[in-house]
């Protein structure tokens, strides 16, 4: 991915050299043509076309913002309800993510989403231990959210 970005920047600079114009807008135009060239040549480059990943990262960001708002609505409901109706507990969730960077990102996202908080990660990085505010409705809904998050992170990293 870094390699493709580097090529793209080099193309943008070649564009500026060809035009002999050194303003920022020319860099943008060159970068755009670089993107087009990279897209056409994607068969010969290692890895996926990198802009797909940038888009995936953007999608992940918006998914995350939405979950953050939902999480807060739920926390407010739990706290301000006249009678406390929570059933907290800790459950284990296996994850397929490998690198420490991905797992850190996943646990940050889990911590900021409805009713869950990462307590610990097993030593072989395969199981996340998560504290949930409401075990009964968490179990299923959370598993679903985890799948969307895990998928979204994988979209970005591989």
């Amino acid at each position: 991915m870094a390699f493709q970005i580097l090529i793209n920047v080099v193309i943008a600079f070649s564009w500026m050299f060809l035009k002999n114009q050194w303003a920022f807008p020319d860099f943008i135009i060159g970068y755009f043509w670089g993107l087009v060239i990279l897209f056409l040549m994607r068969r010969f480059l290692p890895g996926r076309f990198y802009f797909e990943r940038v888009l995936a990262a953007g999608r992940l960001f918006f998914l995350f913002l939405r979950e953050l708002v939902l999480a807060n609505v739920q926390v407010i409901r739990d706290i301000l309800r006249p009678k406390l109706k929570i059933e907290p507990g800790i459950f284990a969730m296996p994850t397929e993510l490998k690198s420490e960077w991905e797992i850190t990102l996943l646990s940050l996202l889990i911590t900021l989403t409805p009713g869950t908080l990462v307590m610990d990660i097993s030593d072989d990085n395969k199981i996340l231990y998560i504290h949930a505010m409401n075990i009964p409705d968490a179990d299923q809904a959370v598993a679903e959210i985890k799948n969307t998050f895990e998928k979204a992170i994988m979209e970005v990293t591989r």
Binding site: I79, L84, G89, T111, G115, L117, M119
Partner: protein, 130 residues
Amino acid sequence: MTETINIFIGIVVLLGSLLSLVTTIGLIRLPDVYTRSHAASKSATLGVLLILVGALLYFWFADNYFSARLVLGIVFVFITAPVAGHLISRAAYYTNVPLWGETVQDDLKTKERPKTKKEVEKRQKVHTEA
């Protein structure tokens, strides 16, 4: 135009402070460390975030000044608050702070943990190699 912006900024800042208030109520009402850190790590983050966004928008529209430091502050709060919540609850668990009496499930109990100093060192070694 400026009037609507002003109202919008007012709402954002008010929402942020209300969220902080709710967090405080949560800290008082909830029964144990772990559920409290739920409240502290989520609604406090969003509360601070909204107040910072409100300040950013206000100075942008009133003084025509875009403060990049506020943006940096938002990003830092975003990254550090959940980590703090995680570390506090983890430290609490490993110093045997009890879970609430009505806690339903505890899978972390089954996690195998190193008992002796030797095992700890061995694990650390494996970890650095991997």
